[in-house]
C-alpha cells in the first residue's frame, strides 16, 4: 500500500523520511506530469509520497553572516525572483524558465532534485559554486550542486534525506547567459551557456564556463578554467579554448533538436562569450 505522507513540520518530515522510501513532492510541476495517468484518476506512484510544499520553515530567502544567500527548499521561483537578496544572474535565468504559472508553483530545490539535463537553474548554480543542504534525522550535510547531480535524474540523496536549503555564494563576476529554445516562453532548453569572468590589469583573474542541455549534466571543467586563469586576456586564444571544450560537449538528438546543431550552437555561443571577454567590459 502506497502511503501519502503529510508532515506538519520539518521534524516530522525527517522522521517520516527515516522510515519510508519516498518521492518528495514540492510544487508538483515535474512529478505530477511524470506520474499522471488520466483525467479524473489519481497520479500513480510506485512508492510512498511525502508532501513538503506546506512546510513554512522551508519558505524563505535570507542572507547569512558570511554573505551567502540561503533559500528554503519550499520557496517558489516567483518568490526567489522577487527577493532583493538574490543575485541578478539567477533572476535572469529564472525569468526564462517555463511560464509565469509554473514559476508560481515550482521550487528551485525541485528543479535541482529533478536533475534533468535541461534543468535551467542548474547552470548558474554550478557556475557559481552553489550548494544544497541535505537534512535527515542524523543531521545536515552540504554538497556542491555540481557534485549532487550525478547524471540524468540521478542525485546524491540518501533515502532518509531531503534538500532543505540552497546556498548561493555571490561572486564578483561579469556574466554572459544565452538560452536557446524553440520560443520565448515555455521552452525546454536545446542549448544554454553561462560564462563568468573577471579581468584586472589585463590579467584573467577568473574565467568560468558552464553549458546546459548538452550532456547528462551541466558541463563545467575546472581543469580547463585553471589553464586560462592568470593568462593575459590579450593572449587568450579563442580557437584553442573551443578545442578544449569541443570534446566535453556531447549532446544527444531528441525531439527538440539534433546533436550536430546543438554542438555547433554551443561552440558558437562559447566563441561569442570569449569575444566579449576579450572585448572586455572590466579592464
Amino acid at each position: 500500500m502506497i502511503k501519502q505522507l503529510v508532515p506538519a513540520n520539518l521534524k516530522e518530515a525527517l522522521e517520516m523520511l527515516s522510515k519510508h522510501n519516498c518521492y518528495i513532492m514540492s510544487g508538483g510541476t515535474d512529478l505530477m506530469v511524470q506520474k499522471h495517468v488520466s483525467t479524473g484518476l489519481l497520479p500513480s506512484f510506485d512508492k510512498d509520497v511525502i508532501y513538503v510544499m506546506n512546510l513554512k520553515e522551508l519558505d524563505y530567502v535570507k542572507k547569512d553572516d558570511n554573505g551567502n544567500i540561503r533559500i528554503g527548499a519550499a520557496t517558489r521561483f516567483t518568490d526567489i525572483e522577487r527577493s532583493p537578496l538574490v543575485p541578478e544572474i539567477y533572476k535572469i535565468v529564472i525569468k526564462e524558465i517555463a511560464s509565469n504559472n509554473i514559476r508560481n508553483m515550482a521550487t528551485m530545490a525541485g528543479n535541482i532534485a529533478n536533475a534533468s539535463p535541461a534543468g535551467d537553474s542548474l547552470v548558474p548554480l554550478v557556475l557559481n559554486d552553489a550548494s544544497v543542504i541535505l537534512s535527515s534525522v542524523n543531521g545536515n550535510r552540504e554538497v556542491l550542486v555540481r557534485d549532487f547531480v550525478l547524471g540524468v535524474r540521478k542525485i546524491d540523496r540518501k533515502q532518509n534525506e531531503m534538500i532543505t536549503e540552497i546556498v548561493l555564494k555571490p561572486q564578483e563576476l561579469n556574466y554572459f547567459y544565452r538560452k536557446v529554445g524553440a520560443r520565448k516562453a515555455e521552452s525546454i532548453t536545446k542549448v544554454s551557456l553561462m560564462g563568468g569572468y573577471k579581468i584586472e590589469n589585463g590579467i584573467i583573474k577568473d574565467l568560468r564556463i558552464a553549458f546546459g542541455s548538452v550532456s547528462i549534466k551541466v558541463v563545467r571543467s575546472l581543469e580547463n578554467e585553471n589553464k586560462y586563469i592568470g593568462q593575459k586576456v590579450k593572449e587568450l586564444n579563442i580557437d584553442s579554448v573551443i578545442e578544449d571544450y569541443s570534446p566535453l560537449v556531447t549532446p544527444i538528438t531528441d525531439q527538440r533538436s539534433n546533436k550536430e546543431y546543438r554542438h555547433k550552437v554551443a561552440m558558437n555561443l562559447l566563441r561569442k562569450f570569449l569575444e566579449e571577454v576579450k572585448g572586455g567590459r572590466n579592464e
Binding site: 501519502q4 489519481l42 511560464s99 509565469n100 508560481n104
Partner: protein, 155 residues
Amino acid sequence: MEIKFILNGKQVSVDVSPSMRLLDVIRDKFHLTGTKEGCGEGECGACTVLVNNEPYNSCLTPVINIVNKEVITIEGFRETKAYRIIADAFAEMGGSQCGFCTPGMILATYAVLKKNPHPTEEEIRFALSGNLCRCTGYQSIVFAVLKASEKGIEL
C-alpha cells in the same frame, strides 16, 4: 484526508487523496466546469485558476498544496466588476474565438492587471506566456488586455 480551503470566497472542505489534481477537485467534486483541461501537463494554461491571486496550473497542483489558501475559478471571478470589464474587452477586441482558453486567459489577465494596472504590450505577452490560444494568434488578446487596462479594472 480532509482538505480545507477557500473556493470562490467560501470556506470548503473535501475528503480526497492529497495527490488529487486541483483541476479534478474543482471539476468533479465541486462541479465547476469553467476550468478546462487542455494538455494536462502544464503547457497550455487552460486549467488556470488563481491561488492567493496568482495564476496556477490546476492540472499540476496536488490539492494538498492549496490547503487554507484562496482559490478563485472563473465561476467565482465572474461575480466581480473586474470580470465584466475584462470580458467586455475580450468581446470587443475579438479576444475569444472557440473559447476554450478564455477562462484561463481572463484569470491570467486579471493577475497581471492587479500587479501592474498599465502593462506594456511586452509585459502582457510575458504575463500570458503560460496560456496558449490556437485561434486568435494572440494579437487580439493582447489588444483586449490593453483595452481592459485603459478602462481600469477597479480593484
